[in-house]
């Protein structure tokens, strides 16, 4: 953390997302729908040292509290991330991310002939098969989604 404290001051109110896999902080901002034009003060630290991950990214967002839904999306691309909610410079809530058991509507089934890709009412739905490595299964056609598929879909990488 020494490099982080060297360059970035604490935020008064907002959210600190820590332990993001190195290089994925921009992806995290993307899934939060943050473009930079919202006027939020944001600090992005990339590739800083981490005991747990070797290298990691950190994102600090002032005046925004990440909600449960947003947290579950983050968990798809940064499963080990932690979310700290800060008020008056103090961490008032520490959330460990947990991948939800089912993920509805967010991801697309890679099987072009799955009913969810062919009917406007058939919302995609995946259940968690494993977290490490990330694997999700379509509840309609049993097709698997792996981490690379999820990343590609969520952040277009």
């Amino acid at each position: 953390m020494s490099s982080a404290t060297l360059t970035v001051s604490k935020i008064r109110n907002g959210t600190v997302i820590d332990h993001i896999p190195a290089g994925r902080s921009l992806a995290v901002l993307k899934v939060l729908g943050i473009t930079g034009y919202e006027g939020l003060r944001i600090a992005i630290l990339m590739n800083v040292e981490s005991k747990k991950l070797g290298r990691k990214d950190i994102v600090k967002i002032e005046d925004k509290v990440v909600d449960e839904r947003e947290a579950s999306i983050i968990s798809l691309i940064a499963p080990e991330a932690t979310i700290n909610i800060v008020r008056d410079f103090n961490v008032v809530e520490k959330r460990n991310l947990r991948l939800p058991e089912t993920i509805k509507g967010l991801l697309k089934c890679p099987n072009p002939l799955c009913v969810t890709n062919n009917d406007p009412e058939a919302l995609s739905e995946f259940v968690k098969v494993s977290e490490k490595p990330l694997r999700l299964r379509c509840v309609y056609c049993d097709t698997y989604l792996n981490e690379a598929d999820v990343l590609r879909q969520v952040v277009g990488q």
Partner: protein, 299 residues
């Protein structure tokens, strides 16, 4: 409302009850157990065999049948969403039997309607009533299903009957299941990872045919191939002929969900091990039993 969408919807006990019930129906006069009920047959994908067997089963039970198949389906739907078509059928009928070219269509339909949905084949995904017919044929010929060696031959990738059979066998204790296919038609990893019994993937039927009790042959599902060149490469990659059958155990059986194209030589039909026509004959009584189970017990 859940109906019979996947073979996983049935436990071993459920399946055995259906088999025992079917057994009683084989030589009995049908009773009008579904009198006053309406069964809708919603076949969004063309089918002759399955459609007619469900229709016959429903009529023998005294039910009224409404439905459509193939080209008619396009006119019924007129670009309408599947959900809306299912809602219409829900208003008209007590049970919805559905075939559709999309994987997962039956499950989706079962979530839209409060009426039981029977999956008569969804894309390359599942076909649970066929599995009941398959396992019933095994049971009739051997007296049991456990401890047998199965050989599933052919298109294991796109054949929905294979997925349902592999899953259905989880309720029993097969000694070994050989999955015999050219590499491009190998069974889906997603399905194999679920299995709780020993299986082996092999490329050549001759290598293992002498061990097999139940040889289950599938047609190459031409209509499911996304890439036509892929189909051309594998289309005649296997065939059950007299030379292969000669190497089989004397009391082994050969099954096929039919229709067949060229994967079983017609000369094999006369061999006493060829049981696919017997297997087809169980289509109606098995489906009668299924319709009664979902149409009466759950009504």
């Amino acid at each position: 409302m859940p109906g019979l969408v996947s073979i996983y919807d049935l436990t071993r006990r459920d399946m055995e009850e259906i088999f025992e019930d079917t057994e009683k129906r084989l030589n009995a006069q049908p009773r009008k157990e579904l009198s006053g009920k309406i069964v809708s047959l919603a076949f969004f994908e063309p089918s002759t065999r399955t459609y007619l067997s469900f229709e016959t089963a429903a009529k023998k039970l005294g039910a009224e049948v409404i439905g459509f198949t193939g080209e008619e389906a396009i006119s019924v739907a007129k670009g309408e969403s599947l959900a809306d078509t299912v809602r219409m059928l829900e208003n008209y009928s007590d049970i919805i039997v559905m075939r559709h070219r999309f994987d997962g269509a039956a499950k989706f339909a079962s979530r839209v309607t409060s009426k039981p949905v029977i999956n008569a084949g969804d894309g390359k995904h599942e076909h649970p009533t066929q599995t009941l017919i398959d396992l019933f044929t095994v049971r009739r010929n051997f007296g049991y299903i456990d401890n047998l060696t199965f050989g599933l031959l052919g298109d294991l990738k796109y054949a929905r009957v294979v997925n349902s059979l592999l899953r259905g066998l989880k309720a029993f204790k097969p000694k070994l299941v050989y999955l015999i296919s050219p590499e491009p038609l190998a069974a889906r990893r997603e399905i194999l990872e679920e299995l709780n019994y020993p299986y082996k993937e092999v490329r050549e039927p001759h290598d293992v045919i002498g061990e097999v009790d139940v040889l289950y042959v599938t047609r190459i599902q031409k209509e499911r191939f996304v890439d036509e060149q892929e189909y051309e490469r594998v289309k005649e990659s296997y065939k059950v002929d007299l030379r292969l059958v000669e190497q089989m155990k004397k009391d082994a059986i050969i099954l096929h969900a039919l229709p067949r194209v060229q994967e079983i030589d017609r000369r094999v039909d006369k061999d006493k091990r060829a049981k696919y026509f017997e297997q087809a004959s169980y289509g109606v009584p098995i489906r009668m039993s299924v319709l009664v189970k979902y149409g009466v017990e759950r009504a």
